[in-house]
Structure formats: C-alpha cells, structure tokens
Symmetry: C2
Subunit: 672 residues, 2 copies
C-alpha cells in the first residue's frame, strides 16, 4: 500500500508516479493538519455528499447569473439541512458543518449565510431568556431567516458614528427605528437583500433626547408568508461584488418604523417601560464574539491558501513547458526553481496558518472557560493576537493565492481553475471583521503598552514575554543550519523586538518634544504597523516550531520540518533588512539563508504532491478543473468550456443584429 | 481661475476645497503625462463621446450576463467605427483610438478586440502583396472579422511545441490543417469563440513528412453570411474568466481542414507548388511586433494604476472615518498616514509607468527607423528592456491596484468601485504576451551577456552602460536630501549592479565546479530574476529622473519632483536589504530615507486630488461610483444598487420555491 492514499486506478500516470514518491502517510499528515477526528469525519462526510445527488452542483456556478446562483444555493442549502443528521456526526460542530458546506454549497454564499454565523450567536449572547424563547428556538429550527445589520453606507469600523436611530416612545412602549440620511442605510449585511425576514439591527438608542450609543434590536423586515417588505422598510440587494455573488448582501432603510420595546435585545443593557436605562455590566461584552470570528477566519484563510496550493501544484505536475536542456524534452513546470520558489513557500504558509488557526481556537476556548471563572486577563492578549493574525494572514493568503493562480499560466485566469473564486472570497477577509490597517494598529497599541510594562520589569502576558528576554547582539546562523533551526527562529524574535522598542522610543521622543500623544501616534503609524506585522510573523514561526516539535511520527515530522525550515528561510529573507540594519545578521549569513532555501526547494519537490494531497480537499470542494485529483486536466477543460453559456448556439443573436449588417454594408461599399 | 481645471459648480464641497489647494495647473500636468497634443485630443474626444448617446453604456456592465455584454459591446463598437471620423483626428493613431475605446467600450473586450491589434498587424507584416490585396483591404474596411490563433490548450510560451499541423498536399496544391490531439486545440485567442470569421493560425508546416516549424496561415473559419462554422472546423467560447468577459476568447480545432497553398502568409517564408520551401531572410522577423505590444502595455498598465489611484484618492477625500483626536470629529481617511502610505506610492508608480511607456514607445520608433537603415543593434536592447519592464510593471501595477481597492474599504469590494474590473483586466497582463517569470529570465540572459562584455571593458549598449562605471563603496545619502536626490538614484544603480555581478560570479563558480551551463542557470534562476527586477527598477527610477529634469514649468516640476522623491524613498526601502548587505547603506541612512518618505507624504497630501485629476480620466472612462469627479458618492451608490439585477422584483422565485416551503414545514413541526 503506497503511503500516499490518494492514488486511484485510471489516474494520470504522471501524478501517480509523483505520488509514489511520498515519504509519509498522507492520512497521517491530514490528522496532523485537521486533528485525527476531524480528518476522519471529513473523509466520511465527503463520501456521503458524493452519494447524495441533491447536494451536487447542477452546473458550474461560473456559468450562472446571480439569480441562478442564489436559487441554486437556496435549493442546496435547504437540502443540506434536511439531510444534515445523516451526514455529520454533530451539527453543532462548526468545523464539521464548514466542511459539509464547502463540499455541498461552496464559498459563494447562500440564504442562511449570516443566520448561523452571526444572527444566532447575537441572540445567544444578547437576548434575555424570554427573548431567546421567542426568537432563538424558531431561528434554530429555520422557521425564520435572520441577518445581522450593523455597518452603514457611510459608516463602518467606527461604531460610534452609526446614524440609524432607535428612539423610545414611552406613550406606545415602542422604539421608532429610523434612517435619517442616505449614509445611514444599513449596507453590506449578508443575506439581507432578498432572503432574510428578520434582522438584528444596530441603532443608536435615544431616550428623552439623550443618546445611549449603539444597541441591538430585533426587527422583522419582511412578511413571514408573502415575503414582501413590511411598511416603513426599504430593503434590497447592493449589487454584484468581486465574489460572494451567491450572497444577497443588502441595504436596509427605516422610515419611522415602530417595534415593541421588548425587541431591544436585553440580556445586558435594558430599557424599562418608563424609559429607565440600565447599563450592561461589562463594557467589552461583545468583544469575545469578534475574537471568535477572527480566530475562525485564520484557519479558513489557511484552507483557502491550501486549496490554491493544491490546484497549482497538481497542475504544475501535469503541465509541461519548455526544456531545461535543449532537445531533452519539455519538463514539468514544477521542475523549475522559479516555480518551486513561487509555490512551496505558499504551501508552507497554508500549513502554518492552519496550525495557527487551531492554536488560536484552542486559546479562545481557554479564554472562554477562564471567563466563566471570572478571569479575563487573557482576553486582551487574545484580542491583540487575533487582530494581528487576521491582518497578516489574510494579506499573505491573498498574495499567495495570486502567486498560485499566476503559476498556472493562462489557464489560471480562466474560472475553470477555481482560484479566481476562492481568491475573491478570501480577499474580502482583508476588509471585513476589522479592516487590516486598523487591526494592525490595535495590536500595536497593545505592544506599546507591553513595552511600558517591560520597562517596569513586568510582562503583559505570554505573547509578549519575549520582550523581557536578554538579547543576542549577533545571530548564530551558520553555513550549515543546526538541527532545529533555533538561530533562525531567534532572528524572528530579534527583528520583532527591535522594531517594537525602536518605535516605542521614537514615540517617546516625539512626545518629549511636546507633540501630543495622538499626533505622535499618527506620525509613527506606518512604523507601528510594521512592528505589529513583525510581532505576528514571529508568532507564526514559533507556532510552526511548536507544531513540528509536537509530532511523534518521524516521517511526518521530517516532512513538516522541511516545510518549517523553508518557511523560516523564506520569511526571514522577506524581512531581512531589519536584521541587517543593526548588524544582527551579516551578509554571508544572508547568503547562507538563501542557499539553504534553494536546497530545501529541491528537498520538498518529490513530496510536493503528497503535501497538498494531505489537505484531502475533495474535487467537489476544490471546484477546479486544473486541480483535479486524477490529473485529467486537458480533456476536462475542453468539456468545461463546451458548457460555456455562449456555446448555447453556434451563432448568437448579436451577429445578426450588429456584425452582419456592418460587414454586408462594408462589402457593398467596396463593390461600388 | 483655479489651477485645478476639474472644479465644477454643484460638486461635493469637500472635493472643491481640496482642488483649490492645487499648486499647479492640472491641464499642464496632463500635457506632461500624455503629451500636450494627445491631452488636448483626449479632452475633445471625451466631450464628443458625451454627446453621442449611441456610444453610451445602456447600463452598468456589472449587471449584465456575458451574452448581454458581448451584444452591448458589439452594438457600441459598430457605432464607434461608424462615427470614428467625426470623433478622432487620426483613426490610425493607436493612442487616440485607445482613448476613444476606453470612453465608449471600456476594457472588457469587444468583437474586434484582436482584429486591429493582432490580425491586421500580422497581415501587414507577413502577407505578401497579393495576399494583402486579398485580405488586408477587406479587413481594414471591416468586411470580415479576424483573430490571431497561436497558443494551444497544452502549449503556450514554447512555440516549438505547438501541435497543430499544416501538411502540404502537392496533388491538390493545398495545406491540410489538423489538430491531432485535444492539447493541440487553439485556446485563448480573443474574439475567436463567437465573433470572428477569419483567423491567422500558427501551425507546424510539414512538407513531404519533414517539419519546418511554425508558420502562419489564413483560415476562414465561419461562413461569411450564415456565420456557421465551416466543415472540419470546431470553434467555440472557452468560458468565463476573471475579467475580459465581453471578449469571446475561443477554442479552435481542425479536422483535416483544407486551405489553398496560397493561404500560407508568404511575405517572408514561402512554399511553392512543388513543395519547395524558402526560408525567411531573418530569423527574428516577428520580434519587433512582440516588442511593440509590450511597449504599449507598459503605458496602458500605468493608466490602469492611474485609474485605480484616481478612484481611491478621490473616495478617500469623501469618506470620513474615525477620529485622530477624540471628540474632534471624524476625519477624511486620506488624512491618515497609513492611507497616504498606501496610496501615494501607487500614484507615483502610475506616473513613472506612464513616462516609461512613452519613453519605450519612442525608443521603439527609433529602432524601427534604424532597422529600415539596416541597423538592428538596438533591437536586442529594446527587447531586453521591454521584457523586464513588462514583468515588473504589470506586477507592481496589480499589487498597487489591490492596495487602491482595499484602501476603499468595503465599498472597494463592490463592483460599483470599478477597480475589480480594471484590476482583472490588468492582472491578465502578468501572463499574456510573455509570462512574467519567463520575461525576467530573458532580461537576465541579456544582463549576463552584458557582464561578459563588461569584463572585456566593452558595453552592450546604453541600457547597461552603468555596469562599466566606477562604483562608490558607500552611499552619500544624508539626513537632509540633496536637491536632486542624486545619491538616492545612485543607490538604485549600485543595488542593480551588485546583484548582477554577484549572480554572474555565482554562475561562473558553479560551472567551474563542473556543472553544466543549463543546470547552473536553473540553480540560480531566482537570483537571476532578482537581478532582472533590480535592473528594471533602476531604469524606472532613472526614467522618472529624466522626466522631472525635462519639465520647464517650475510648478509642474516641483509637484512632479515630490512624487519622484517619494518614489525613490519608497522603492529603495523595498529593496534596501541589498544595499545593507554590503554596507553600502548604513542603518542611520535607512532611517533618513524613512523620515524623508513620511515627510513627503505630508507634502503631497494637499496636491493629491490635483495629481489624480491631472490624468483627466472621464467618468465615462473610469466607470466608478466611488471615483466620480463630482464626489457625490453615497447617493449614487444607492442609485447604482437599486439597479442590481436582483432588485427586479421584491420577492424572487427562489423564495417560493425553496425558502417558504422550508419555513412553513418548520413552523408546522413546531406546532405539533
């Protein structure tokens, strides 16, 4: 039995030969990536979906209009929930459900896109017991479809600027929800435009002319039976986007729309019938939900990059182009150093992002259980960490996916490659759930605080402990890397520490010169972001290290270590100027790093396909002609193309309408 | 009269106030960018298109299916040619025609997309006089529509591997065109799928069983009147792509399809009726056409980045978000250093890419006139230069456009921003007309040859002269930059030279150890690409310098110099490790560069809108709600959204079909 478990009879021979070179068991590697339990569930789930034809795409979504996409995914998602008990072991397990959804639905969205991810969590967190009874149970049973409406046309990150108002009317015991301007329109919520009949709406609470800031309100927006928008409500789709076009992201406006007082979600803050307002017990109550979404995002982004890597690496073993030595025949494009250098570092990133996602979700669980014991110190740490990770990981993911796509040459540009769509989905992550630039500055704020503590000899927490450690003045990286690449990891630490202290000093100097704290912060904003990025990249490298250390199986560990060492070299080169500036690294050491990186590209090459096979993405999930497991690319590209909507007829009406009259007239003119 | 000529009554006040800060005349800057003649023509042309409603988009293309897009652009392009004499001064002027097309048609393609750009040039270059008479005149008059079919499903850059065959049949005096395998299908040619009735087809010429390599053949593929594919011909659309979806890129297969012998284009190579083959006089005869397309691309990419910069900078002056000082009100997002750092370097790149495009096109004209005198030495130089520029410029453009898009926050993700579409068009440029990685290696080959010459004390040509110059060991960059930033430009030169010589030495060493030339090249491929990139970036910086030097008007020159200096600082930081490795730059000098860059961001800020206004892109051309000249963004976003195809009805059929039955059943279950 070959170690690579993806081999099947009838596959493209090229891929089979590649797979036979595996030095490790791909299912064991899958267990390292996903956890052994989830890895098993994923395999079983994919098999079940394979058999349930009602869950299959009726055609490639690339050939559909938006309305067809919405309809198709509404069909599939309804079927998916009808069959959910037969397919997954635990429908409340987010990870399992995510994989089911990515097999059956894909990543372009569906009518319940926000229902389970934000609407229900908001009810769980913010509805009081009576409200839970009223809305949470029906929501869980899919008697209604809900969304979460916060951002507005003119307002995003800065929640204090939201314009939508909820004014309490004591006389009727109601809130009057109102959108005073066009910029106050709710804008962007998923599934809002055409699918949802309920929304949790963020609005500025006003009682007796006094503003109490934004609070959440349950608003029914469409009639339960006719689905028509209720009176006083304007709702619709915001139009096509880069991707996610099976989601009806929507706009929502209110014309003095009245809801009962008890539609304000009152688990924490409250308004009684006399208009007396009760503050929530903690100011940061919504905090942990945000942290949760971001921690989940990190793993998902890793999967997106893993998908793109799978597609590009498989295709690079099918595609032959050019000769290395004239007359020796065309070679597989993955045999070029340039192609390896383009792809393997992305593969390594996909691995570490998935590991980091897992580590962060575990940390989140710990924070949650700590919080139940009243212990909240780790929350700020986790918030800072996820802010940085969200920003760095999304940025590197989309840049990496583009490299994967371009590595597929012309065919990467076709929707048949599958990368354009997942790239479009992933790139949204740079903006939603906290714009990346803002996120970096949030982490930077935490780091500057940590420096202050450090100067008092204290540490804010585990994540910034290293700021207290004694520093080597010069790197110990040598021509022959030491087994565990300790000096490489130390260089990440040094680089992060140096930039953090440097910008902290610069901030102090500006303030010493009389500049206000806010203006000094502005003047150093870009340098602060650099500090946040370098800190995060150190965290990622260290996380990879921890993972490799934790693996027991020697063959898995060795294959992972190759990726880890490549990651260290590649990322270090990407930030090497910081280590050169203070002569921590010398020029010959940088050359050692380069040489070792090129060596590792060659080492990884024979295992490349097995390293991507270990993700165990099903063909159904990848939705890529180029990335098919069986490697039968070209005949299927042709088959795919023939399904293009433009091939419905040999001659399309625009020929007779425009081109024929033009050519006829031209021929007549030339005959005169 | 304000210096910024884009101010109009009724504009968003915010933008008018910004425009009143201009320190230079925007029309004069436009003349510096486009040349004064073209700048004037562009303005006049845009006004004429404004009045000709038949040339206007009937709705935003984002709301259309592919078939609607093709039909819409077929309609407009036929009208455009019907009116061309009234709109442009010289229809044979590519630049003027490009601007007409970008106003009327946009960048998504149309049925003559390849006809004028490749089909006609191929006929001009390769058809003999009799053939010109037969096909060129009808093509120019639009009696037929042609495309150029070269790449195949399984074959791209390496033309020697093309599989399509043209076998000479002496008995009938015909060629038999045949596609022996699925990988031999012609794949990708624009306008091939549904629009063209003729194609210039590259095929491997075979006479008496002997292969003579790829040659071009004129093949009629569809009936002139019915437009049905001719017998023996399979043709269709290859399906949707990332962008360019108003273009019917196609596939084309031949089943022993016969064409007359005289359909081989015979200006250079010939086959007579006895099957006697005559070689073309020069081997590199197709060379200059490739160089031409690449040199045109550089300017176009600059325009794409300029468009994205215009959109992002205008929107960043309309959008307010967050407070720098608490309680002082939300600020324009362009007031953040992070936003300036994101956008202004892209703006500077757009400028220099447009300048480089112009310089290279002029060089191309010189090469052409030299060639007429039999002088071809500059051709290799120009080929190397355009290879590097094509690769570096397309890469930096698309990365920069993504920064522009993300700088628009959530709304940048909407198709309303306009950036997704032009980004999708621009990113294709990384792959077509020579894949970027291959292009860099072509330049590297030239550079390695140049090093050999240099060691003999000679120079290959003007572009690599600097390799011969004496070198400073340390940079002279100081805390206060000298007027012309000479030491900065010298650093680019130093960095390029160092890497070029370094990799040349490494290649020699490997070969001295007994490695073959080809394998050594493989082992150093990534380092060779780095050398090619650094050489090109030095060229770009030097080009910017030449441009600033050439400007006479003091105010224009000052504003341009700010952008140039920003470019120097920003790009230098991006490659600074190369200058740190050999201690050419010291840490404090790097800090000087950083400080000066942050200073320049503030200097440029008040002129930002005028610097983008100077491109004079019309609203019709930009097709962006965010980038509207008048700054009325929000109300028009709402207006745009209401036109979404999903808003055709309040309730779409998928509700009644899938969602309603699901919710009803759930409610019934809960009542039991």
């Amino acid at each position: 039995m070959p170690l690579n478990k993806e081999i099947q009879p009838g596959d493209n021979d090229e891929l089979t030969r590649e797979r036979l070179q595996a030095t490790f068991d791909t299912q064991q590697m899958a267990a390292a990536l996903w956890g052994s339990d989830l890895a098993r569930k994923r395999r079983e789930l994919a098999k079940k979906v394979d058999k349930l034809t009602v869950l299959h795409d009726s055609k490639d979504m690339s050939f559909m209009t938006r309305e067809e996409k919405l309809s198709e995914n509404a069909r599939k998602v309804v079927q998916m929930f009808a069959h959910v008990a037969d397919i997954v072991e635990d429908p409340s397990d987010d990870a399992e459900m995510f994989h089911l959804s990515s097999n059956a639905i894909g990543h372009e969205g569906h009518p319940f896109g926000v229902h389970f991810v934000m609407f229900i969590p908001a009810l769980k967190a913010q509805a009081d017991d009576e409200q839970r009874e009223k809305w949470l149970m029906p929501a869980l049973g899919l008697q209604l479809i809900g969304t979460y409406a916060q951002t507005e046309l003119g307002h995003g990150t800065n929640l204090r600027a939201l314009e939508t108002m909820a004014t309490f009317d004591k006389a009727t015991d109601e809130f009057v929800i109102h959108t005073p301007t066009v910029t106050a329109l709710k804008w962007w919520p998923g599934s809002l435009g055409k699918s949802s009949n309920h929304a949790v709406v963020s609005a500025n609470l006003i009682i007796d002319g006094k503003s109490y800031g934004h609070h959440n309100f349950m608003v029914q927006i469409r009639d339960e039976n006719t689905h028509k928008p209720l009176k006083g409500i304007t709702v619709g789709d915001i139009g096509p986007k880069m991707a996610y076009n099976a989601s009806d992201n929507g706009f929502l406006g209110f014309d003095h729309h009245r809801i009962p007082r008890r539609n304000m979600l009152m688990r924490h803050a409250k308004v009684d019938k006399n208009g007396v307002y009760t503050k929530p017990p903690h100011a940061k109550i919504g905090y942990s939900a945000m942290v949760h979404v971001r921690s989940v995002m990190i793993g998902h982004q890793g999967m997106f990059l893993g998908s793109a890597s799978t597609i590009a690496i498989r295709y690079s073993l099918v595609r032959r182009q050019g000769e290395i030595k004239e007359g020796s025949g065309e070679v597989k494009i993955l045999d070029y150093q340039t192609q390896q250098h383009r792809l393997f570092p992305q593969l390594a990133r996909a691995y570490v992002f998935m590991f980091a996602g897992k580590e962060v979700r575990e940390l989140y669980q710990k924070v949650l259980s700590d919080m139940e014991k009243g212990e909240t110190t780790l929350l700020a740490d986790l918030h800072a960490l996820t802010s940085g990770l969200k920003s760095v990981v999304t940025h590197l993911c989309v840049a990496g996916m583009e490299q994967c796509r371009m590595a597929c040459g012309g065919h990467g540009y076709s929707r048949a490659s599958g990368i354009p769509e997942i790239w479009g989905v992933a790139v949204g992550g740079c903006t939603y759930e906290g714009e990346n630039m803002v996120m970096l500055l949030q982490l930077a704020r935490y780091l500057m605080k940590a420096v202050k503590e450090t100067k008092k000899g204290k540490s804010l927490g585990r994540l910034v402990d290293y700021l207290l450690l004694p520093q080597d003045r010069h790197s110990l990286i040598g021509r022959v890397p030491q087994g565990e690449y300790g000096p490489h990891l130390a260089a990440f630490e040094h680089i992060a520490r140096r930039q953090i202290f440097k910008v902290a000093d610069e901030l102090t100097k500006l303030q010493d010169k009389g500049m206000s704290k806010e203006i000094a912060w502005q003047k150093k904003a870009v340098e602060l972001q650099r500090a946040a990025r370098l800190h995060t990249r150190f965290y990622l490298a260290a996380c990879f290290h921890r993972k490799v250390q934790s693996v027991v199986d020697g063959r898995i560990r060795e294959a992972l270590a190759d990726l880890y060492h490549l990651h260290l070299n590649y990322e270090l080169l990407d930030m090497v100027n910081y280590a050169l500036e203070d002569a921590y690294l010398k020029a010959d050491q940088v050359d050692f790093i380069r040489e070792d990186m090129y060596r590792l590209l060659e080492t990884i090459r024979p295992n490349a396909i097995s390293l991507v096979d270990a993700f165990e993405f099903s063909d159904r999930e990848l939705r890529s002609v180029l990335g098919r497991r069986d490697g039968h690319v070209y005949e299927n590209l042709y088959k795919w193309a023939k399904e293009s909507e433009l091939n419905r007829a040999d001659v399309l009406p625009y020929f007779d309408k425009y081109l024929k009259p033009m050519m006829l007239a031209a021929r007549q003119r030339s005959n005169i």
